[in-house]
């Protein structure tokens, strides 16, 4: 660690301690799975010599918290989580504009997301949805693994699905938005209702069902390819299929909240998160998303080009409250 960083970090810590007492220097809402959040907390603390309050929350939960608990008690930085939630927060005035100095190093989709959010969120990583079948769990029913979105609504799979509540899980919401995009409204509505009828069990977070399906609790779920590959751990009973109709994707983002206290520190953390160095430390080591910096290595999961046949998913449209309510209204909680 360079001496300037130490001094800078120390000053930062001192100033924030004077201003805010003994509280953490930065409060982070972290939406990827917990290993990433833990890595980040440790890395940020070490790199910037700061105290970090890291809370693991799904995108929907963060959005909910920002709506219901604004002010000083809220978060300063929102790291990761599906982009539609970030866009909705941006539209609702819960974030503030940022312009990291290394924006020009980011891939086009990252930059594009920043434009879409009215310069309040930067695209941090991306990933696509896949259908996941635990063949061993499905074996007693002698059914085939699912290969299309439409299969999920097939009544033969009644009770075999585990999908998180789309009102809190960005993964589930992205899946439903993808179905809405792929099918005519009436058909999409019917399919979403049929899928919700096939679901057995409840979950609030996107990768919790993935882990439970891999464990054999249920046979079928949906998830981001990077989440499932991370958890695969050599299991050969798992089928991972890009949906035959085309798939949806997330652009996960990083944002500074409207009520962020130490904006200078938050800006530095954002910029740091967008560097190839930080991202290369994460990719293929901790996680498998496609990161935003041009110089970041390719994720080994997404070497498979078939996972990149994504639909022209309208991020801005599906982040509107109207679209969100419309989609959620079709979902029947199991």
């Amino acid at each position: 660690m360079r001496i300037e960083s130490v001094i800078g970090g120390g000053l930062l810590w001192l100033s924030s301690s004077l201003l805010y007492g003994e509280g953490p220097d930065v409060r982070i809402a972290c939406s990827p799975f917990v290993a990433v959040c833990e890595w980040l907390a440790e890395d940020f603390s070490a790199t910037f010599d700061i105290s970090v309050d890291m809370t693991r929350m799904s995108s929907g939960e963060v959005l909910q918290a920002l709506y219901t608990d604004p002010g000083e008690q809220s978060f300063d930085l929102w790291w990761g989580g599906t982009g539609d939630a970030h866009l909705q927060a941006a539209q609702s005035g819960l974030l503030q504009p940022i312009e990291p100095a290394n924006l020009h190093e980011q891939l086009r989709w990252s930059h594009y997301f920043w434009e879409l959010s009215d310069y309040q969120s930067v695209g941090l990583y991306t990933g696509t949805l896949v259908l996941i079948t635990n063949r061993a769990a499905l074996a007693p029913s002698s059914l085939q693994p699912v290969s299309c979105w439409s299969d999920l609504g097939d009544p033969r799979y009644r009770g075999q699905l585990l999908i998180a509540d789309p009102s809190t899980s960005g993964t589930s919401f992205t899946a439903l938005a993808t179905i809405m995009h792929l099918y005519e409204e009436a058909e999409a509505t019917r399919l979403i209702q049929e899928i919700s009828l096939n679901v057995e069990g409840r979950s609030t977070s996107g990768f919790d069902p993935v882990e439970r399906v891999l464990a054999g609790e249920r046979a079928i779920t949906i998830g981001f390819a990077h989440d499932v590959y991370r958890a695969l751990d050599g299991q050969d009973q798992i089928s991972i299929t890009p949906p035959c109709e085309g798939t949806g994707y997330e652009i996960a983002a990083i944002s500074m909240t409207r009520d962020a206290r130490n904006t200078e520190l938050v800006e530095r953390l954002v910029e740091y998160s967008l560097t190839a160095a930080a991202q290369n430390a994460l990719v293929n080591e901790v996680t498998h998303q496609m990161f935003s910096n041009q110089a970041t290595e390719r994720s080994d999961v997404y070497q498979d080009w078939s996972l990149l046949d994504v639909i022209n998913y309208d991020l801005r449209f599906y982040s509107t409250e109207r679209a969100r309510q419309q989609i959620l209204s079709h979902w029947r909680r199991p």
Binding site: L107, R108, T126, Q294, T296, Y302, W305, L308, N312, D314
Partner: protein, 478 residues
Amino acid sequence: MTVIVIALISIEAHQRRIGELQAAEYTVNALNISNALLQIREKMDAIGLIRSEYLAAVQLSNFKVELEAATSQLRQLSGGQNSYESSAAALMAGITGVERLVQQKNDLLASRSILEINMQNMLLQNSHDERIALLLTEALGTQNLLKTAEIEREIRTLYAQSSAPDQWTRVAFADSGILKTVEDLIVNQEQIDRQLRSMSDEATRTAADLRADQISLQDHYWFSPVVLTFFLLVTLAVIFWLYSAYIRQRALGQMNEQSRLDSLGMLSGEVAHDISNMVSVVIGSLNLLREDQLNSRSRTLDKALYAAEKSIQMIDRLLMFARRKQLRPEIISVNELIRGLEEIIILTCGDHIDIRLNLCEEELFLKVDPNLLESSLINLCLNARNAIDDTGTILIEVRGHENQQVTIAVEDDGRGIPKAALKRVFEPFYSFSANGHPKGQGLGLSMVYGFTRQSGGTLTIQSTVNKGTRVEMIFNAH
């Protein structure tokens, strides 16, 4: 006045409703247009996938025709002068926007084609690495930024692995340019698609709203309790208005009639009284002359006396009409009085008239002047006789009522009296005859009218041409 205002408002509301219903019919067109927009969007997506510029141009040409038809429909719609005009204008704006986007998409396709050609040239000129050439070709066919990004990342890796990176600098720059252009095209396309989606969604919503209005109008317009109640109230108001107008008119007519007859009666009474006095002097003088020339027969004197006595009778009737006649009321049995008159009436009317009596079963008593009642009845029977051309029937009817009134009616089945004449029959000296030759002096009914009124009763007449006439004297029973 209030009723008129309500009626006018209701008419205006009704016309507006009709206007809305007509407008609702146009919503079918709006829905068609919305569907057309959706189809256009689908076709736009299809065009995005067409690699041939020629095919794209053909498709666009077809769209243009469809758009023109849709625009024409919308122009009709907006010409409807109704509340849907703004919706139609919104749809029109949507169509115009789609046209613009189609043009942009066309430009985009052209850019893509040019880019493809440029890329081929560059690949040829630079003896490009085959793997990179394949990746760039893949990028060109890509519709999403995720794939182009990963292609870019892959090309970077390939450059990094190259044995002679310096030699590739220029090519790398060109490749980077190609990728950036491809990505710009994708972003442009996404933006165009978003706008298209937004427009067609808006159009769908507008059409759905219009459709909902139409359904609401069609299904609930006539059956809505509010509308039904409204129309019921309006109908009742109109009926009430018409009825009150009729009643007012009739009352006014009756009042005028009564007032006219009263005025006439007053005038007749004054004149008759004076003439009666003068004629009495004439008669007295004539009688003195006659006594002086006793035994000498003077036909001239006899004629003068006869004429003077007739004049007195006439004046008596006028006085009767004017209710100036001195009455001598007595309590009489109506049935008895009429039975006593029956023979005289039969004789007066002649054999060709059938006289029927329909008397009340119970004995009814009146306190009236019996002589004048007899005289009135004979007068009415004479009128009835005159109304019958050949043979016919005169019915004399007596009825008692629960309200202590007695009706004495004389009814014939003769020619009847036209409505216009019916209003004036009670006037003195007004005589009506269907064949244009009045009979009598026109004082009979006037006398009966005066007598009845002076006796505290009322006189009514009902008549239908070619069916007959019925005159009723209504008195209070004793």
